[in-house]
């Protein structure tokens, strides 16, 4: 076990947010920590990594009580990626990644051949070799996040903890960052704990989930087990969680129906567009929507016949009536 809390109470200035928590992070696994905003995800992370004291209970790193480790010993066990940007725009990327070697270097931080090798490897793993001569101020948010991950990798610790590494990123970058972390756990044998709001991606990529609900209780398990047990839907307390796809479905009021004559992908996406306008596909109805192969969508019956080249036009037409 790489990281463990036993009977942990967390909170600020003696006011508990959650108690009796037993979070566990095993070797070589990617754990995604999910939960609604404000339940204490960041507080639990900070308590586990030693940036905040626990109100009660104890934290163990690699079986050792955290309180007994010096800050240097801690730095060799666990590295961090926090939210927030460093302020220095004139900070060269290579220097920032090299900071990760600090726990391993002497009093003046001189880098030896092993340090150079680890830095090189970190740049390679995070796929930012081409960025190494840039300054922080020249990076996009996604690039900056990779640089921060490379710094944590250069620290060469068995465990990595990341606080919302996908916040402020667009979907392709969120996906690439989570894929990168998944690879690091699977191929480099790192234990990785990250908090995120990416339920979809977490369900696909995480080995286990930590779920914290609004009452402050923590459920742990493989994503599939949590879906099957219903814990996932309960933790978010939201309607619309679809256990079939593991995603959220928008809830539409479907009060009208039509017969849909279309095939494959076109049928799938037409159903979505229709649902948004309040129409469901039925076996029988006066209204019929037909997709002419390589041609338009043809609507017959109420609320009025029409031909549409795009589904967007069709939705606008249906809404008007």
């Amino acid at each position: 076990m790489r990281l463990e809390g036993r009977d942990l109470s967390i909170g600020h200035k003696g006011v508990p947010l959650a108690s009796k928590l037993d979070p566990k992070l095993y070797a070589q696994e990617l754990v995604c920590f999910l939960g609604p905003n404000g339940v204490g995800k960041t507080t639990l992370l900070k308590t586990l990594v030693g940036l905040m004291p626990a109100l009660d209970g104890e934290v163990f790193w690699g079986g050792e009580p955290l309180a007994g480790l010096s800050s240097l010993e801690r730095a060799k066990q666990l590295s961090l990626v926090l939210t927030g940007k460093p302020l220095a725009p004139l900070f060269p990327v290579l220097e920032l990644v090299a900071l990760g070697r600090q726990p391993h270097t002497g009093p003046f931080g001189r880098l030896g051949p092993i340090d150079q090798e680890k830095i090189e490897r970190a740049l390679e793993l995070a796929q930012i070799k081409d960025l190494s001569n840039r300054f922080l101020g020249q990076l996009s948010d996604g690039q900056l996040q990779r640089v921060m991950i490379a710094r944590a990798l250069a620290q060469d610790t068995p465990t990595l903890v990341l606080d919302e590494p996908t916040a402020f990123l667009d979907l392709p970058h969120r996906l690439s960052i989570l894929n990168l972390l998944h690879q690091l756990a699977a191929q480099e044998g790192k234990s990785i704990l990250l908090s995120t709001h990416e339920l979809d991606l977490a369900l696909r990529l995480a080995d286990r989930l930590w779920l914290m609900d609004a009452q402050g209780s923590l459920v742990q398990g493989a994503p599939e087990d949590l879906v099957l047990s219903g814990d996932l839907g309960r933790a978010f307390g939201l309607s619309g969680f679809d256990p079939l796809t593991g995603g959220f479905t928008a809830v539409h009021l479907l009060n009208k129906g039509l017969v849909l004559e279309a095939q494959g992908l076109e049928a799938v996406w037409a159903k979505r567009a229709l649902a948004r306008a309040g129409w469901a596909a039925l076996p029988y109805s006066q209204t019929k929507l037909t997709k002419v192969p390589d041609g338009p969508w043809v609507l017959t019956g109420p609320p009025g016949n029409g031909e549409f080249l795009a589904l967007g036009d069709l939705v606008r037409h249906l809404r008007k009536h």
């Binding site: 940036l51 800050s71 801690r74 302020l87 220095a88 900070f91 900071l99």
Partner: protein, 332 residues
């Protein structure tokens, strides 16, 4: 490239130093310098006196003060993770002023002279600077936002200024004069003994800073990251506090509150060397600071005339555009 820049700055320093020795109200030829170095008997005793007792201490003080304030500024900017932090903005100079005002005005203006006076003055300024920095640091642990902290520093500076005004109001004219002369800021008029007292304050501050280069680099990323990289953040804060108040307090005690240099030089150094690495920035700030100190003293002396401008006026004219440039550059 880095070595070239360092050599260029060093060479510039040597030239400025030569300029300070040779130019002034009386200009001296270059060979008079060799005369004094080579043969103390044959040289003109007046020239010798000017060079060794007036211009050499002035040169040393200008270079030392510039280097120390620049380094103090760099430490403060990293400590507060604020590009506009510096000894005068965060109220440290005001703290030193308050210390000196209390000492000078309470003691009847007599303590400014003599060796005991230099220790007293230095002690009061350093203690004042240290206490003010302590107050600002205390708030910095409560207030996370650097901008709020900067405003707090300005308010504390204003409060210290208010106390000084009250002290002045209740003081005799000659006491006020010795205090006012100190506030104008000057690299001149220090005896060799006073110079040594100043050096004895600055060297420990400098020595401490050199050993902090590595954790300072980690601190650039914020305190959470620094702690995760094995830095004892509380200890580091205390050491930075001590080093910065020794450096700023030591200079302020003997030269008065010097404006702008502390803020502007770290930015110049970062701009020149294109790095955030304190192992480069610390020597760079020392060199650029010393050069700027000597340059402003050279300008303030107005070579060829008997005029001498206040050093703060010259520095503000050089320093203000740099701060302006930083503010503009960050708003982009």
């Amino acid at each position: 490239m880095r070595a070239g820049l360092f050599s260029a700055l060093g060479l510039l320093g040597v030239l400025l130093g030569l300029g300070l020795l040779l130019w002034g109200s009386v200009s001296l030829p270059l060979d008079s310098l060799f005369g004094v170095i080579g043969d103390s008997q044959g040289a003109d005793q007046v020239v010798r006196k000017i060079l060794l007792e007036l211009r050499l201490p002035k040169l040393a003080v200008a270079a030392l003060a510039g280097a120390s304030l620049a380094l103090a500024g760099l430490l403060m900017q990293t400590l507060f993770s604020n590009p506009l932090a510096g000894p005068d903005v965060l109220g440290i100079s005001a703290g030193a002023s308050l210390g000196v005002a209390l000492l000078v005005l309470a003691s009847g203006g007599t303590v400014v002279s003599g060796l005991a006076g230099s220790y007293g003055l230095a002690g009061a300024a350093t203690l004042g600077a240290f206490l003010m920095l302590l107050v600002v640091m205390g708030f910095s642990e409560k207030v996370g936002d650097p901008t709020t902290l900067l405003i707090l520093g300005l308010i504390f500076g204003a409060m210290a200024g208010g106390l000084v005004s009250i002290l002045i109001y209740f003081s005799e004219p000659d006491q006020i004069q010795s205090y006012l002369l100190w506030t104008f800021g000057s690299f001149r008029g220090l005896s060799m003994e006073q110079l040594w007292v100043m050096v004895s304050l600055l060297l420990p501050g400098l020595g401490l800073a050199v050993f902090l280069a590595k954790p300072l680099n980690a601190l650039l990323m914020g305190e959470g990251y620094a702690a995760s990289m094995g830095v004892e953040v509380k200890g580091l804060r205390r050491k930075l506090l001590l080093s910065a108040s020794l450096l700023a307090g030591g200079v302020t005690a003997f030269c008065g509150p010097i404006a702008f240099l502390g803020i502007a030089v770290p930015h110049l150094a970062r701009f020149l060397f294109k790095t955030a690495d304190h192992k480069v920035l610390i020597p760079a700030c020392l060199l650029v600071g010393a050069d700027l100190g000597m340059f402003s003293e050279l300008v303030a002396g107005v070579p060829g005339s008997s005029l001498s401008l206040p050093i703060n006026a010259v520095l503000s004219l050089v320093g203000a555009p740099v701060v302006f440039w930083v503010v503009l550059g960050r708003s982009k």
